[in-house]
Symmetry: C2
Subunit: 113 residues, 2 copies
């Protein structure tokens, strides 16, 4: 592999780092979907959605196929779901940790002020 693995991973995660792109991937987990439906589900400018879809396409995580005048997107590989689950688990842990921290801070303030 020419590109170091950690750099490929970083690029992969950066590709995921956008709300619209996340929503697209989550919607596509239930099966292929035309752009029109994505556009209705995610309220965003068509050109903006297209740009984000282009990012996903370029990275290879989704595929686009034309069917008449509509374009249908689908996940290229299976297990994005598992990734999302893992992310959600960590995120939950982290938020819990931060709430704990917030509670601590609140207590500290109550104690000192």
């Amino acid at each position: 592999m020419q590109v170091p693995l950690y750099q490929a991973k970083a690029e992969f995660f950066r590709m995921l780092g956008h709300p619209v792109r996340i929503r697209v991937l989550e919607l596509l987990q239930d099966g292929p979907m035309p752009v029109r439906d994505l556009l209705v589900a995610i309220e965003v400018e068509p050109s903006n959605l297209s740009q984000q879809l282009a990012v996903l396409r370029r990275s290879g995580i989704v595929t686009a196929t034309r069917d008449g005048s509509t374009v249908v997107y689908a996940l290229a590989g299976g297990d994005v779901a598992e990734l999302m689950r893992a992310a959600r688990r960590i995120l939950t842990e982290m938020l819990a940790g931060q709430e704990g921290l917030l509670a601590q801070l609140r207590d500290a303030e109550a104690g000192s002020g």
Copy 2:
């Protein structure tokens, strides 16, 4: 939750989207590690590493504790490993897919030219 979930997820992935940060997280999977050792393992300017560590700290995925004159970093929650595994699996699939695509393109060129 004030912040929509998909936005929190996007921020989370964006936080992972940097080679140095990925390497730090992978190194910390084997246990806590002082900055000095991270600095040796990841060849990068100290100030640069510090900046990336600050990003990880702010997000809450790692914790820093001072021990004398050295600072030791550790993963805040357990299962970053699983996330990385899921990412690697998808990445492998994607790269395989792209190789397949390349092969296809090569064949198409051979066929048409």
